[in-house]
Each structure stands twice: as structure tokens, then as C-alpha cells.
């Protein structure tokens, strides 16, 4: 048995770290896990299923009627699809975003990752880019497919709805924006807590439990400001016919992604500071 080491054939200078190379590495890690494909597949099927069913139920219930213009009916359909896709899609995407870092800690992979990228922050930055792209594109594809599928079914039934009003597209766009904002919050939380169970619990507590607590607080006479500052409340304004909340549409978008930035900055700070 003899062992020979073959040196790298390419010029030594071409072998070094770069942002796009770390991004490529993260992409390989993400798409070479079966759980990624299962999660994205399940998300697509569930969202398209529920997203198309909701307007169909509504049409049979006569909420969409002949007196409305085709444009208004299109906006209502788009709104329903966006809300259904968001509520269901965020379950999958937030969990996936938390897992993309916590599974590195639970498996020990993080040590291999950080030995290759010892400056650490590029790992967080490239995971952020990756999760943003995947979350936005997958959710966008889901709402567009759901929208045209619904339109085709309803119009073949003589509803005569269309997406000519730009408001319909604002509705559809709200789903990928909302889901991506929440996914990035989940990613930052994952970097902070490092454990899958704690990360998923914390992310869903922020999305589902904190709003209930603050609603109680508001009902008891507390200020509505705190509630309006929550990412889930701000995100919901993105698909509202008339965005209320703080600062309207753009204010809501800023609050949602402000949370994402804060969460990622917190994660980055701890990633840099703690022992791996």
C-alpha cells in the first residue's frame, strides 16, 4: 500500500476564498440535502392546493359576483391567494431558514464550515443571500401558478376576472416579500440560538404567540404601537387593499425587513464572538 499526494493541478494563486465561492458552497450544502427538496416540494404542493381552493370556495359562495368589475375580482382573488400562500408557506420557509444553520450546529458541520471560512461573517452573508433568493423565487412561482390556475378555472365558469389592475400584482408580490422577511428573521434566530428546537420555537413564538399577547395588551387599553411594530402585523399590511399600520406600504416593508436585519445582525455578532 503506497500513498502519494497529488498537488492541485491549477495555479496556486487561483485557489482562495471569495464571496461568490462561499455562496456556491452554501448552495451546494443546501441542495445536497434531501430534506431541502422534501420541504420545498411539500410547500409548493400545499400552497398551490390551498391557494387555488380558497378563491374557488369563495366564488361558489357568491363573494365574487357579476356586479364587480373584472379588475376588482382579480384583485380579490390575488389577495386571497397571497394570504393563503403566506400563512401556509411561512411554516415551511421559516423552518427551512432556521434549519439551514441549526443543522450545521447539531451535526458538527459548522466546524468544517468555519475552518474553511474562518472569518465567519461570509457564512452568514451568503446564507442570507441564498435564503432570500430561494424564499422569494419559490413563493413567487407558487403565487403566480396559483393565480393563473384559479383564473383559468373561474373564467371557464364565466367569472370574467383579470389581473389588469396593478393592485392585483401588488397583492401577489406581498406573499414572497412577507415569507422572505420572516424567513430571514428565522435565519438570524437560528444563528443566535444554534439549536433547531429552540430556533423554531422562538421564530414561531414571535410570529404567532407574541401578537396574541400584544392583542390582549391592546384590548386592555394598551398602545397599538407595539402591535403595529411586530413583523407579522407589518407583513400583513403588504397584502391589504389599503395598507394601514405605520407608514403604510413602505413603512410596513421597512418594519418587516428591519426585524430581519436586526435578527441577522444579532446572529452575526454572536457568530463572530462565540466559540464554535
Amino acid at each position: 500500500m503506497s500513498v502519494t499526494i497529488v498537488p492541485i493541478p491549477t495555479a496556486a494563486t487561483s485557489v482562495h476564498l471569495s464571496f461568490f465561492r462561499v455562496l456556491r458552497s452554501e448552495q451546494i450544502k443546501f441542495f445536497t440535502l434531501r430534506s431541502t427538496w422534501w420541504t420545498l416540494g411539500a410547500m409548493t404542493l400545499a400552497c398551490i392546493g390551498v391557494g387555488t381552493l380558497m378563491p374557488l370556495f369563495l366564488a361558489s359562495g357568491k363573494s365574487l359576483d357579476a356586479s364587480q368589475t373584472g379588475e376588482l375580482k382579480g384583485v380579490i382573488i390575488a389577495n386571497l391567494i397571497a394570504m393563503a400562500t403566506t400563512q401556509l408557506g411561512l411554516l415551511f420557509m421559516v423552518a427551512l431558514a432556521v434549519l439551514v444553520i441549526t443543522n450545521e450546529y447539531s451535526s458538527g458541520m459548522i466546524r468544517s464550515t468555519l475552518v474553511a471560512v474562518p472569518r465567519r461573517l461570509p457564512v452568514l452573508a451568503t446564507k442570507t443571500v441564498l435564503i432570500s433568493l430561494v424564499s422569494f423565487l419559490v413563493t413567487m412561482v407558487i403565487v403566480v401558478i396559483s393565480a393563473f390556475l384559479t383564473l383559468a378555472v373561474l373564467n371557464s365558469d364565466g367569472l370574467d376576472a383579470n389581473f389588469n389592475d396593478p393592485a392585483a400584482w401588488r397583492m401577489l408580490l406581498s406573499a414572497p416579500l412577507f415569507v422572505t422577511g420572516l424567513a430571514l428573521i428565522g435565519l438570524g434566530i437560528g444563528f443566535m440560538v444554534r439549536s433547531t428546537a429552540a430556533g423554531i420555537t422562538a421564530a414561531f413564538a414571535l410570529i404567532y404567540v407574541v401578537p396574541i399577547v400584544l392583542q390582549l395588551f391592546t384590548a386592555l387599553g394598551g398602545s397599538e404601537l407595539l402591535l403595529a411594530l411586530l413583523p407579522s402585523e407589518a407583513g400583513a399590511q403588504l397584502s391589504a387593499i389599503n395598507p394601514a399600520g405605520l407608514g403604510g406600504y413602505w413603512g410596513s416593508l421597512a418594519i418587516l425587513f428591519g426585524w430581519a436585519a436586526a435578527s441577522l445582525i444579532g446572529g452575526g455578532f454572536l457568530l463572530k464572538k462565540r466559540d464554535a
Binding site: M1, S2, V3, T4, I5, V6, P7, I8, P9, T10, A12, S14, V15, H16, L17, S18, R21, V22, R24, S25, E26, I28, K29, T32, L33, R34, S35, N103, E104, S107, G108, M109, I110, R111, S112, T113, L114, V115, A116, V117, P118, R119, R120, K273, D275, A276
Partner: protein, 311 residues
Amino acid sequence: MIETQGLTKRFGQTTAVDNLTITVQPGSVTGFLGPNGAGKSTTMRIMVGLDNPTSGVATVNGRSYEGHQAPLREVGVLLDAKALHKGRSARAHLRALAATHGIPNSRVAEVIGLTGLESVADKRAGSFSLGMSQRLGIAAALLGDPATLILDEPVNGLDPEGVAWVRMLVRSLAAEGRTIFISSHLMSEMSQTADHVIVLGRGKMLADMPIGELLASASGTATRVRSPHAAEIASLLISPSVQVTSEEPGLLVVKGVDAVRIGEEAARHGWILHELTPITSSLESVYLELTESSVQYHSQSAASANQGATA
């Protein structure tokens, strides 16, 4: 070359590494020895930036590990065989690590071949035995064709075939002029591969010298003398600089005077010698002597066995 300067790492009340200043010389195999819990792994983790030192610095070729443009070209690391996701194939794991530095897939195939993983490269790493995981860890360490390798207990838990393979690999890597820093809690492991040893106990450096020097530094070589005139020989030799012990009648162990003189003295007095043997300390005994006082988890079995015997 890896250097540490006054390296200290505390975990709460425990000091894992205590003011450690060492230099791992290039082009040699340096054994890093110490009982379990001596701080070897922590030192190695600090060297590649996984742990932050409480104080002091560690540098690789003159700068911090994270300061390098291509860290994987500087140092290849095997810290533990399980630093991977079980659901990913060996090839995907290596490709992901290689991608960070733009290392081509052809090099991934090379290290897979080098470590004998071809037949399992596309299987999930979670299904690997410890031996195969260790090979995969070594494949990852070799990806960047690094001049320096840090290997933490690379043969721990391996079967004899795996141990032999790692030894051969380490020797051939060293023969190519690579710097190898390899830790172990077993001296026997090191005596066959290392040129130089650094012994650590409770985070403190106990020895840092060529392996031959460590042997010579043993607390004096001794001579075993068997003779019907043992008592006379003992009374003749004994002096402040000479130590004579006797475990059974007619047998002496003499320290502080060499076999030649003992033989000459015996001849002068006409005493018969049945045995005159110089005893050199083995590396193992030198190591045990060095670390005796610093073993963190003393075995209680010897003490309780003695109590059982006297009861």
C-alpha cells in the same frame, strides 16, 4: 510554521490552556502529547480559529489563521471525524468545502481516491463507520494541498488496519516535507511517527524537545545488578549521588553510577556478578513520569485494589 504566544483559554473556572508558548517547526512531525483533558484539542481549535483564546495569540505562517486568503491551503485540519452532516454524501461534503476556495472537482476526486473512499463516495456520510468517517475527515484536510496538517487523535477508535493506514499516510505526508502536528494521549503512538514532542499536562507545557532528547532527559538511567554479594556491593556504592534500591535479596537497582564502574568495583573485590544490565527508560515511562502529577482524572482502581489486598 504554527506558533502560540502565551496562549490561555479558560472555560469559566477551568483553565484548559495555561500560558502556552510553542512553535511547531516546519517540515517535521511534531507529536502533541498529554492525558485526556490536558488541553490538546482546545489548543488545536484555537490555532484554526474555532475557539477564541482568553489571552495570547496563535499564528500560522506569521499571521492569524483567519487572516489568510486561502486558509485551506495553509492548514488542513482533522479535529473530529463527525464534523459533517449525516445526510450529505461524502462527495457533496467535500465539494461544498472545496467550493469555498474554488478548488476544482478534480481535486475532490483525487482526495477521494487518496483516502480510498471511491466505492462509498456517493453514499450518505451518516452510514459511514468511524474508520470511513476518519478517512473522509482526512480527505477534507487534504483538499487544499496544505503545507501543514493538524490532526487531533487521528487513530482514536480505529481498528488495527485503520491505525496502520493513518500511520503510513502521516509518514508519507511528512516525507514530502509537510509539517504535521498530531495529537495523541498515547506515547507508543508517537514514538513511531514523531520527530519532536510537546507534552502538555493540565494546559501547561511539560516538555518541548526532540524525541531522543526526551528519552535522554529521563531521570537518570539505572543498572540492574544481580549478585550473591549484593549487600556488600550496595554498601560499597552507596553515596549521596548514588541511589541503590533492592526489591528482592540478591538484586539491586543502582542509579547514579554506570555499569562499567560497578563491574570494575566488583572485579576488584572479587565478587561474582550474575547480571549487570543497564536499564534505559522507555518513552512510555518518561511520559508517564512527566504527566503523573497532571493527570486530571486519576484512576481509583489501583488504590482500591491495594486496600482489598490489605484487608
